[in-house]
């Protein structure tokens, strides 16, 4: 496995008793990227994150983080030392004040970044003397994120970092993540239900469905390669035997033939032109459409 990948999994499987939570996951997250991890509820996102952090042992397959095998005891300690993790329940001590919580956490990390701490306390507008248990959901999220950002980690793993945030706070958090990646040697892997935010800040995307990778790659490549092609015919649309690569789906409806391609439109158009369509439209496919197409299919 190449070490330019911060996270790499190969045919990762994780069973809980008879339940196959993850069943063949292939991840490759390059250094310096922001990778969005999409999937429906129960698709295996949280299980995957637990395995990456060494909090759950894979049933089979390989997991490497920083090139270290996550299933090995010592390596997983090392991985967690170098990784900032924010769980979806934002584990914090409710009886501490914000200031105490920050000071308490900082004591554990020799590479703690006091400069970033000052910056994020300011931009996130966190009330220093308020008890953590009295914080709103959005404030808790921002505090948890601050604690993860300031510890000098090389990798941030975030489980739905923006859930419960209002749109303004959401943008603020995304901006902080973008700024962080731009200024530090840092890789971010985050799960999300917000396709729009993955669209906005990620450069890599992984879509997991029923424990398997269904789409993975550079987001700009997906945008460049996915196309919806609509052909209109004079009479009933033909049932063409297309051999072009990357045909994901074909729909026929009356005079209209629609093709979803993951490999551009040209080859398909070359094959479709002899069928004499009266009109041809090629439109980009959004990440949301890609997501819905891949997770709403039966298997």
């Amino acid at each position: 496995m190449a070490d330019s990948f911060i996270i790499e999994t190969d045919e990762l499987r994780k069973n809980y008793g008879p339940v196959e939570a993850v069943r063949g996951l292939n991840l490759q997250v390059p250094a310096g990227s922001i990778c969005g991890f999409l999937g429906r509820n129960g698709a295996g996102k949280t299980t995957t994150i637990k395995v990456l952090l060494g909090m759950a042992r894979p049933t089979s397959g390989h997991v490497r983080v920083f090139g270290l095998a996550a299933e090995a005891q010592q390596a997983s300690v090392d991985i967690r030392r170098r990784t900032g993790f924010v769980s979806d329940d934002k584990d914090l001590y409710g009886y501490m004040t914000v200031e105490e919580m920050v000071r308490f956490t900082a004591a554990f990390f020799p590479r703690w970044r006091a400069d970033l701490q000052q910056r994020y306390l300011r931009t996130f507008e966190l009330p220093l003397d308020r008890k953590v248990k009295a914080l709103s959901g959005g404030m808790r999220t921002k505090l948890a994120l601050l604690l993860a950002l300031c510890r000098g980690a090389e990798l941030l793993i975030l489980d739905e970092p923006t859930s419960g945030l209002d749109p303004a706070m959401n943008e603020e958090v995304l901006r902080a993540l973008v700024a962080h990646v731009a200024s530090e040697e840092m890789t971010i892997f985050f799960s999300s239900h917000q396709i729009a935010e993955v669209d906005q800040i990620a450069d890599r995307v992984v879509i997991i469905h029923r424990g398997r990778t269904v789409v993975t790659g550079a987001l700009e490549d997906l945008r460049e390669n996915f196309r919806r092609i609509q052909l209109v015919f004079d009479g009933e649309a033909p049932e063409p035997a297309l051999r072009a690569p990357g045909i994901e789906r074909v729909w026929r409806q009356g005079r209209v033939l629609t093709i979803l391609s993951s490999a551009g439109a040209e080859r398909i158009l070359d094959e479709a032109r002899p069928l004499n369509p009266v009109s041809v439209d090629v439109v980009p496919v959004t990440l949301k459409e890609i997501f819905l197409e891949t997770v709403l299919t039966e298997d």
Binding site: G32, R175, V178, A179, V181, Q200, V282
Partner: protein, 132 residues
């Protein structure tokens, strides 16, 4: 300069940025020698991935539209390439204006004109059906 890519449109963001920078040069909003925002501040301002901004700048440099100077940032090329963009655009504007004028005279609506242009650009409209 107005740089505002739409991340959810399905069009690669770096291509949108490239188009918007070129358009700013075409219209004269950006002139040869002028500086573009840095990769990091621009990524932060637009809240998009810094690697995406970097890719747009690299491609624009490759096309000779901008120059990346180490440590100093990105600048609109002082060479003929940037000037040519402006000239080409101005000349094109004249041709398009004339075509739109003629279509309007035939009572073709704005929406229809837009669709005609799009179909023509897609290279799929029937040839030889041009108006005489």
């Amino acid at each position: 300069m107005l740089l505002r890519p739409n991340p959810s449109s399905g069009v690669p963001i770096y291509l949108q940025l490239m188009e918007q920078v070129k358009h700013a040069i075409e219209t004269g909003a950006l002139r040869p020698g002028e500086q573009l925002p840095g990769i990091r501040p621009l990524a932060e301002e637009l809240v998009i991935n810094p690697n995406t901004v970097a890719k747009a700048y690299r491609e624009l440099e490759h096309e000779g539209v901008i120059e990346l100077r180490h440590g100093a940032g990105a600048f609109v090329s002082g060479n003929a390439r940037a000037q040519k963009l402006t000239d080409k655009f101005r000349a094109g504007q004249t041709i398009v204006a004339a075509a739109v004028e003629r279509l309007r005279a035939r009572r073709v609506t704005e929406e229809e004109i837009r669709r005609l242009f799009e179909a023509e650009l897609a290279g799929l409209s029937k040839r030889g059906a041009n108006d005489g």
